[in-house]
Amino acid sequence: MATAESPDGSVQNLIFSYADTKVLIQETLSEPNGIQELQFTDPVATVGNFMMMRFFFPVENWLHFYKVYRATGDKRLLDKLLESARHYHKLSAEYPSAAQQKASDPEGMPFMYSMAAWSRITLQLARKQSGAVSKQEIEEAEAFLKTMVSVLKPTCEGNNSLDPEMGIPQKLADDFRTRAFNRAMNGIGTLSLITVALEDLKALNTTTEYQPTIDRYRKVIQEYIKNWHRIGYLDPNIEGEKHFVYPYAAGDIGKMVDGGKIYRRAEDAGHYSHTLQGLMLLYESTPELGIDDDFMTAVANAVYRSSTVQVEVGKNKKRCILGISKAPLKPDCNQLQKMGTSTVTAQRESGSICWRPSEMA
């Protein structure tokens, strides 16, 4: 791909011009900081509202700030992340029990997304360009990390009740086996950001203080991915390509039919896009734990196929494209859920979703 250099020396690709990039940054900066809960005079009401909020999609503004920062390196986007990071740091420090309860499963962990992302970017930058980050910024990142470790301690650490198969706390292992993947993946992604930020801190401070925590977090992430891969199916050869498909529910183990995996309900594209948002963090942070180039290519292949292949559906054999991922259009989730989208599917009379090569168009 050809590129050109912008006036400030950064690399810009010619498909997305420097002017376009500037407009996109401005649009992103105009977004609110993404603090979710309503603010009441009575702090109990505020914390109560915080506990009700759903962070696992994740918060779209944080996702935008993170992605646009990664793609452009504009530090003003970091400042936007910092606004909410400071807010949730303060909340976690003042109401630790509420924060620990909120992060007691992967669905709640992404409330720390902005803290984790800001800490990771800041410390990563400090390692790469020592002059680019101030001492105060490193100290603030360390404070965020200490708070997040404290928040996660009752959920991820300890050896009293470990799952014999996974070797992580029993309650968390049970959660991995039951919670829908799309609900959990951004929490696991957030954990991967925290893990590599702790490794950055370890390198900067030449300390081994956090090594046991890092080891445990890596174990937790690895066990989650192993379980997801075990329930899902990496088809090694659909027209010469690898494809990864999985069900909506973690308990849907599926069955093999005609060389393909059938689930009661294959993941639909809308939910798959939330899973992808978590995968993005895992790919960038801890690819060695199983979300690497090859695996992401298998995911892309599966989504591409479900977006382009036509099948006949139902008694009337209506022909339609299986589904469509988030780009370019928002999916019609109701329709997609009826159809199933993460693999080549057709709807049987019973309403269950299955995969049959013979029904492909």
Binding site: D20, K67, D293, V299, A300, Y304, S325, A327
Partner: protein, 139 residues
């Protein structure tokens, strides 16, 4: 982001749309962000080549600064040589042909008519440090 892992993803996802609707779909904030981010991920996967027209023509591989141990690569990301050429003038039109192959990239620069060849060089893209060599991703 999936465009980074399978070329043609964006076009594939627009397969049901006519050109006008496709353009409209890709003009939204979300879609432009996805496009930009997918190019970032391509760079992250060390699959980005740069040809820059400066006082000479330079070929670079991005990201180019440091390896995973934060050590600088021997040549940064520069793929030698830097090629001498007549230069390009603001306001003038040129024809540029780029042939990208697995192990090489060839640039040909012509004037507007396409009759006068001003530069023609092929870089061996294997001449980079191990850590920033492109990976061959099968799609």
């Amino acid at each position: 982001m999936l465009e980074a892992f399978r070329d043609g993803m964006i076009d594939g996802l627009c397969i049901t749309l006519n050109p006008e609707r496709k353009a409209a779909a890709n003009s939204t904030f979300d879609q432009r962000l996805e496009t930009l981010y997918s190019h970032y991920l391509k760079a992250l996967r060390k699959d980005l080549l740069s040809l820059s027209f400066r006082e000479n023509i330079r070929c670079n591989r991005y990201p180019l600064m440091r390896d995973e141990k934060l050590e600088s690569y021997p040549t940064g990301g520069l793929i030698e040589p830097m090629v001498v050429y007549p230069g390009v003038t603001t306001g003038e039109t040129y024809q540029v042909l780029v042939d990208k192959k697995a192990d090489s990239i060839r640039l040909r620069l012509y004037d507007e008519s396409g009759e006068n060849l001003q530069a023609d060089h092929t870089w061996d893209t294997r001449q980079t440090a191990e850590g920033i060599r492109p990976r061959q991703i099968k799609t």
